[in-house]
């Protein structure tokens, strides 16, 4: 028995997985609600409860994400990119290109056969192409974020957005609503503008045969469909896209063979 926990404290969601050797025993996902510290504690507690384990039973804890530095218990921290590529390699071993669409970050990672990072492109200067705009638009249109995809795929005439800036896209969307344009066309237009931005990132690393999408954006069917259309390739999606980073964090921590009691 070698129990390990992986935590991925992102800018919006906290994710935890509990693993025994190579098997995922349980996982937990919850929003941060403004405190990385509380979220990190609660999400681990919930995951442990689901697995029927206690904190003392854990052999190692691996962490990643923006909020990982707020964790107070002993842990081994790795970068988001390394954890994503390791986690995705565990979930979908054949995949060589991983697109991660998070709240703030969109990353395109080229993964080696062993799950190491070969190359990556990160949107470090501009939030265009990240999942934040999906949150914003769901508020503006009063649509549940989980339903955005269903609206988007029914659109026949996506609206063209003049900027990819997430802040201005909100204003533009409001103007389009005022002009009486249908919800689905606005949402599909946004998905299109995100997909174009993400595609421009993919072009910077050479595209490979097998591609996958993960992160919160992977839950949006409209975005996935639009990306597939623009890239011209099918995208694999993990069963639970939120936890790939946390799985990677757990695996990488264990591989370092620093065991604490």
């Amino acid at each position: 028995m070698f129990y390990k926990a992986g935590l991925d404290i992102g800018s919006v969601m906290a994710k935890a997985v509990i693993m025994d050797n190579d098997k995922v025993l349980s996982y937990s996902i919850m929003p941060n609600r403004g405190s990385f510290y509380n979220a990190a504690n609660n999400v681990l507690k919930e995951a442990l409860e689901k697995a029927g384990l206690t904190y003392d039973k854990l052999n190692i804890i691996g962490t990643t994400g923006l909020g990982a530095s707020f964790i107070t218990y002993p842990h081994i921290k790795n970068t988001e990119v390394a954890c994503q590529s390791r986690g995705m390699n565990y979930l979908l071993p054949s995949v060589r290109i991983v697109i991660e669409v998070g709240d703030q970050s969109t990353r395109v990672i080229k993964v080696t056969e062993k799950g190491r990072v070969a190359d990556c492109v990160i949107n470090d200067r501009c939030a265009a192409g990240s999942g934040r705009i999906l949150l914003i638009i769901s508020k503006v249109l009063r649509v549940n974020i989980n339903d955005l995809g269903n609206f988007s795929i029914t659109s026949t005439n996506p609206v063209r957005f003049s900027t990819s800036c997430s802040v201005f896209a909100e204003t533009e969307a409001i103007s389009r609503i005022a002009e009486g344009i249908k919800k689905e066309d606005i949402i599909a237009g946004l998905h299109q503008s995100m997909a174009i931005k993400i595609y421009s990132m993919i072009q910077k690393v050479k595209i490979e045969e097998k591609c996958a999408i993960t992160g919160g954006g992977a839950k949006d069917l409209g975005l996935v469909k639009m990306l597939q259309k623009i890239i011209g390739k099918d995208l694999l999606v993990p069963d639970e896209p939120f936890i790939s980073g946390a799985i990677g964090a757990a695996l990488m921590a264990a591989e370092k063979e620093v065991v604490f009691t």
Binding site: L66, R132, C165, S166, V167, E179
Partner: protein, 282 residues
């Protein structure tokens, strides 16, 4: 003779009614989604304030991003030209105009009262008034207050000068690290000033520098911008109206060029009636 300038900006609409060298009325109000109805509403208000009738106005020039939606305007002129004219009228020695609008930021280089060069950002919210709006919302403060609060700081927090969405997250990070609101605001203003400086710097900033637009009303931003530029800037008594003022000055010029016969024809054709985008019958 009486002239009107109407500036429909992305966030705020401005009207100036000018008689010879005197400003008779100023209207400033938020822009909604319906520009045509708004144009009708603001011109009526302005006429009322100036105590003139619509037929007494000799020429109307519209500017700003909603300028094509002013049905009664006699001409449309770009906001770059209008801002330059308005500012030059107030400050004849101006060489650089920095205009920080609600959704864009412009730098205009003026030589002998003519535009030599300009630079503009309307593709990214960083460096525009929208940045200030978003941060005041995130911190739960009033837009008018944040500039002053930022001046109380001695140790501005580190904020990167890039994306508005990232800045929002940086605010939350700094807050959870226990940094004070003054320091965060100072850091944000410093980042915004850096962003504007690096953009406007491309056209070389030279004295006299005049700052206009909503951003000019933010004392914190002006301070950090002055620090970057290295000398003080001039601010018009009402920084919002320079575009509309410039439009009214151009109106005056156009009348002189047009000649009386043509002018009489223009005035006869012009009508002030409510027009909207939508069919409101149902």
């Amino acid at each position: 003779m009486i002239f009107a300038g109407i500036d429909i900006g992305s966030t705020i609409t401005k009207v100036v009614i000018k008689q010879e060298e005197e400003i008779r009325a100023i209207i400033i109000q938020p822009t909604g989604a319906e520009h045509r109805r708004l144009a009708h509403e603001v011109i009526k208000k302005a006429l009322n304030n100036a105590d003139v009738t619509f037929d007494q106005i000799d020429f109307i020039v519209a500017t700003g991003y909603g300028r094509i939606n002013v049905p009664f305007a006699d001409a449309q002129v770009s906001e770059i030209t209008c801002h330059m004219r308005g500012v030059s009228w107030l400050f004849p020695n101006v060489r650089t105009v920095i205009d920080i609008g609600g959704q864009d930021c412009k730098g205009i280089k003026v030589v002998n009262g003519k535009i030599r060069n300009f630079i503009m950002n309307d593709k990214c919210a960083a460096g525009t008034g929208r940045f200030l709006e978003v941060i005041s919302e995130t911190l739960g403060l009033k837009l008018e207050d944040i500039g002053e609060i930022s001046l109380r700081s001695n140790d501005p927090a580190g904020i990167s000068k890039t994306c508005t969405i990232f800045a929002e997250q940086e605010i939350l990070l700094r807050l959870s690290e226990g940094v004070s609101i003054e320091d965060i605001l100072a850091g944000l203003h410093k980042a915004l000033a850096g962003r504007i400086y690096s953009m406007v710097g491309k056209i070389k900033i030279e004295k006299d520098v005049v700052i206009t637009g909503g951003g000019a009303k933010n004392i914190g931003l002006c301070k950090y911008l002055e620090k970057r530029i290295g000398f003080s800037m001039l601010t018009p008594p009402e920084p919002l109206i320079t575009g509309a003022l410039g439009a009214s000055i151009i109106a005056q010029e156009m009348v002189t060029k047009a000649g009386e016969e043509k002018l009489a024809h223009i005035k006869k054709e012009r009508k002030l009636e409510a027009v909207t985008f939508f069919d409101e019958a149902d």
